[in-house]
């Protein structure tokens, strides 16, 4: 249920952002979930909705979830590859990376040159792409 912790972070973060902007209601929140972190979509969405229910400001909020494909880039040879091209990722390794995506550096190697020195260009973890809200009835 580690998805709950991440959903809680999203809700806290949105609340923080709308306070700054002075929104009186939140219409839509776009969230991307990195393929690498392998978040259980249903649990995450359920947690988000449950947590948002506690705040009146989210009464009419639409949540848009998008899974972002992971792209790795090797710093040694410049090769780019996706998660599906990585081999030997068993259940235990997947779970370790699920908790801490940076552990991909412990278990994944560049398929071309074997280097552990790569960057996760995209599709790492949870991020909030945009928040649309209203300030006393006028959309922003």
């Amino acid at each position: 249920m580690h998805e709950w912790a991440l959903a809680e972070a999203v809700v806290e973060s949105v609340l923080e952002a709308i306070k700054k902007e002075g929104f009186t209601s939140v219409k839509e929140v776009d969230i991307s979930l990195g393929e690498l972190q392998d978040i259980e979509l249903e649990i995450f969405e359920f947690a988000l909705k449950k947590l948002m229910k506690k705040e009146d400001i989210f009464r009419h909020t639409k949540i848009n979830l998008r899974v972002e494909k992971t792209l790795f880039r090797c710093r040694a040879c410049g090769n780019e590859w996706g998660l599906r091209e990585t081999k030997d990722i068993d259940k235990d390794i997947r779970e370790a990376i699920h908790f801490l995506p940076e552990l991909s550096h412990s278990f994944i190697r560049c398929p071309k040159c074997g280097s552990p020195d790569f960057e996760v260009v995209k599709g790492r973890g949870v991020s909030i792409d945009s928040i649309r809200g209203e300030i006393d009835g006028s959309e922003d």
Binding site: A5, P101, S106, G125, S127
Partner: protein, 250 residues
């Protein structure tokens, strides 16, 4: 927008004091001091957490002999308990695999760990900091607003030079420094206490060099019988009672 930082304060709201054990220089015994300090505070009846933030060479689990511990998932990660200490380290997930991380990955991993770990009621959260005045230090300062620092040195001008720089930086950014622990002390030498006095840093006490300590590594019961633990236990009283240990000041 990174949502993780917004929830970190909430994850630590039940922790009374957050103490980072740092020193800048590698090999001065930060991990031994951190682990034994957690053990000493726990022995004294305090609720203690130990977070090993040395992501590339974590060692608290080796010092204390933590084995087969798995984090429990419950609305996040509950740090497992070892000898009364709530323990969190990258090794709980990475096991014995190396963790070759660059700066950006280090910051990401620290944010993730702090975001998902649910620390319960604690009197003290001891953080074992890695060497260096870099990413881990600034992440800790930025994310753990209430973090206080204990600086570890050995009786060496070389090691203290880095402690001095670290102290200057911490003062500049107004991070509280509890004081300095002089580790691996051999014989009579007042260089560190005098330097601390000159720099207006509290000298918390010294920890004797114990050549038998290596034989106790991995056995927390044996560690408790060591001279090192005896000294750290004395220093830990300062943290609990606010009384500075001056018994070993020379």
């Amino acid at each position: 927008m990174d949502p993780r930082t917004s929830v970190i304060g909430k994850r630590l709201e039940k922790v009374k004091r957050i103490i980072a054990v740092s020193g800048g220089k590698g090999g001065v015994g930060k991990s031994v001091i951190s682990s034994l300090l957690a053990l000493a505070l726990s022995e004294s009846g305090k609720k203690v957490g130990l977070l090993d933030l040395d992501l590339s060479s974590p060692s608290d689990h080796i010092i204390l002999g933590v084995k087969n511990l798995y984090p429990e998932e419950e609305y996040g990660i509950i740090p497992p308990e070892f000898q009364g200490i709530r323990f969190m380290s990258i090794t709980l997930f990475a096991k014995d695999e190396p963790t070759p991380l660059r700066g950006g990955d280090v910051s990401n991993a620290i944010r993730e760990l702090l975001c998902i770990t649910r620390w319960e009621d604690l009197d003290f959260l001891i953080i074992d900091m890695p060497p260096g005045i870099g990413d881990e230090l600034f992440e800790a300062i930025e994310l753990l607003k209430r973090c206080e620092f204990i600086l570890v040195t050995i009786p060496s001008r070389v090691a203290f030079e880095t402690v001095k720089k670290l102290a200057l930086i911490l003062r500049e950014i107004k991070s509280p420094i509890i004081g300095v622990i002089e580790n691996m002390k051999r014989g009579e030498n007042d260089f560190i206490p005098k330097e601390c006095e000159r720099l207006n840093l509290d000298y918390l006490g010294s920890v004797r060099f114990d050549e038998k300590l290596e034989d106790s590594i991995g056995d927390s019961e044996k560690i408790k019988e060591s001279k090192v633990f005896e000294d750290i236990l004395r220093i830990s009283r300062f943290l609990m009672e606010g009384q500075r240990d001056l018994s070993r000041c020379t």
